[in-house]
Amino acid sequence: MGLGLLASKALKPTASRLLSSQNPRSLLFLSRTVTSTPELQKPEQAAQAQPEPTPDLPPRTPLAGARVHFPNPDDAIEVFVDGYPVKIPKGMTVLQACEVAGVDIPRFCYHSRLSIAGNCRMCLVEVEKSPKPVASCAMPALPGMKIKTDTPIAKKAREGVMEFLLMNHPLDCPICDQGGECDLQDQSMAFGSDRGRFTEMKRSVVDKNLGPLVKTVMTRCIQCTRCVRFATEVAGVQDLGMLGRGSGEEIGTYVEKLMTSELSGNVIDICPVGALTSKPFAFKARNWELKGTETIDVTDAVGSNIRIDSRGPEVMRIIPRLNEDINEEWISDKTRFCYDGLKRQRLNDPMIRGADGRFKPVSWRDALAVVAEIAHQVKPEEIVGVAGQLSDAESMMALKDFLNKLGSNNVWCEKNGMFHDADLRSGYLMNTSISDLEKADVFLLVGTQPRVEAAMVNARIRKTVRATHAKVGYIGPPADFNYDHEHLGTGPQTLKEIAEGRHSFSSALSNAKNPVIIVGAGLFNRKDKDAIFSAVEAIAKSAKAVRPDWNGLNVLLLSAGQAAALDLGLVPESENCLESAKFVYLMGADDVNLENIPKDAFVVYQGHHGDQGVYRANVVLPAAAFSEKEGTYENTEGCTQQTVPAVPTVGDARDDWKIIRALSEVAGVRLPYDTLTAIRSRIKTVAPNLLHVDEREPATFSTSLKPQSNQELSSEPFGTAIENFYMTDSITRASKIMAQCSALLLKK
């Protein structure tokens, strides 16, 4: 809720509306709603005297894009907000009705994604025929209700609530990190009284230690309980609670305990005051000095929408952006706090490893010349390229084209391993789409631990389980879940039993209306992956998970680059090419089996962090990180999104695709694109869906077209794809905060 919005509503009475309206009748009508005296004394009469609402009322736009969705047209009811009629579905609250009518009601405890608590009383409005002002967030709207948000009574009520809240709120805004984006500050400016009458001592509360991410200053807490509701409802950890009564009321973790949730950072955003703030960001910057860049996250395959706040060349913090289809308004802790990794361990100069094993900084000219020369000395089959998990589509396209021009086709994206079914998009995407997971009633998770692999997808599953009591079956090693689930088994054996209908879970699947099967991309590395996928397909078939109106067969990818890599056809030609390679081009790839690269191979590492790949590299070419370049990424559900550069590149680094383009020219196989637009039109010929930004392109054909595999299932149980949630790629491995988290929060 922005101060501007609130202030303009509070300070500017209907003057502008009056000016814009020419009709004398509506002029009279509007001024009456503002003074409101007749309604106060004789509500019935006033209601009768009120003219029928006419279309010449100035149209109002719903607040913050509030959407009205009528599940059933008969359920629509009409209410009047400040005399303005709105149609809303039954069951909406008064506050929501006001939002649809374009009136912003001040609030502290109400949050649209959490349950209703109704304990702050800031949202009081007047409703005709009710003796007292009502808390609009907790009051269902009834047909014909006449809601008044602008009357003296409502204003006085808000002023009173503000005064009570400020009684015990410390006056430490100058040293508070929330200052400038604090709901309490904004609303006391807009609705508060200009003086207080409180002369006693303010209360103080002991600060709690919630771990390395969330800083608490509990004296500032206004007991809205948003954080408690978030922890129990969305994050699914019962860590936070309300202790004590009356003025002894405190938020805390009943016993001394850290908050161990992968979504804990979100309490920083939902806390309306500065009681919960970001620990790494504490006292680092003021929010009005920051430049916000709307971009996307690459630390997992979800592609959460984020805003990078930067000051000068430094990323100061990362906060979520609303995207209903992907991350709603939450992000995982890894996304939020990995940013300090962007400042450490960075590569900033091209370097060549000398005879003594040490790196020597050289100029780009020399580095590219050396690489180009070696590339020509080896046989084309001995050239191998591996794209890293954070690679964008443009650079992967360039890498593939470059290697193809050199005569090799051994290029892939590291997490995909030897997976080579890139022909059918449905074979590697989350076909159901993240938001449609909410429609599912039975989940079968095969070898995937969504809580660590894709925290936002897990939050969706949890939301579904909470809302509809959907059943969750899980096959894989024992894992942490924050919702009820049934651990069916640990390996392919169980999968086979379900496929053959011998398992008790088969009936649950076949009775389900919208079953969802999620296969983890960690299985891509298994020898029997084809057999697993055909077993899964058999299950999907018998459960009717793939129908024209519903596609419940999903693959949950692990990293940001994977989907685009498969779309662009980055699949290795032969299984063992890495073992026989003489020239290896690692484009940000750190998680390949570096031991498999022969000792005499020449390794080029192009990337932004001095991570595992650099230890083996002979030449290092510094590249830009996701916060510094414009790149296209496709998330696990097939939605294409683009990053936007927020800060300049460090040192002498260059954008990934530019490096490959330059290298190709030095090597004499010049790639035909010089600009981002040109490389995108090249991508268009391969995977046009990568140009439809912010759109989800569902797979057209279903998997049933795939030939049956006659591989044998091995009995080896499924492994965990991600050992440490907090450290999965070069950025997070370089981050100090993530290192602290893994030390303190991981369950041993």
Binding site: S363, W364, R365, A624, T649, R654, R661, A662, E665
Partner: protein, 132 residues
């Protein structure tokens, strides 16, 4: 000595090209005479010699040798005097001088030339910066 040029004032316009020309020579001499004290003030002895600086000044002046309009020459002279004055008044710091007059305008990479022949604009730009 270092404050001798302090009162930079605008002299009357040169009446002819001849006069402008002789003023340029005056300025050049003036500048050359101050080189030793500049080297002294900014501790430049280890990076540059008097003769190198002298030829830098000469080449800066020669850059504008094609100009024949006395008014323009007057203006450039004024700017030159101002710059010299700034240098002598210690209004600059050591790295300014090194950057502008010792290392040169091209920056540290001096080997632009034969190597870059026949390469595309993209590669030329790539070698200089990431932003083009």
């Amino acid at each position: 000595m270092s404050f001798s040029l302090r009162s930079v004032k605008v002299p009357p316009n040169s009446a002819s090209l001849e006069e402008a020309r002789s003023r340029v020579f005056d300025f050049f001499r003036e500048a050359c005479r101050s080189i030793p004290s500049v080297i002294d003030m900014y501790n430049l002895d280890d990076v540059v010699t008097v003769s190198r600086l002298r030829s830098t000044i000469a080449s800066e002046i020669r850059k504008n040798s094609h100009i024949t309009d006395p008014k323009v020459i007057d203006m450039l002279l004024f700017k030159g005097t101002e710059e010299l004055n700034n240098v002598l008044e210690h209004a600059k710091q050591r790295h300014h001088l090194i950057g502008q007059y010792v290392v040169g305008r091209q920056g540290l990479i001096q080997d632009i030339g034969t190597k870059d022949q026949g390469i595309s604009n993209f590669l030329k730009n790539f070698y200089t910066s990431n932003y083009f």
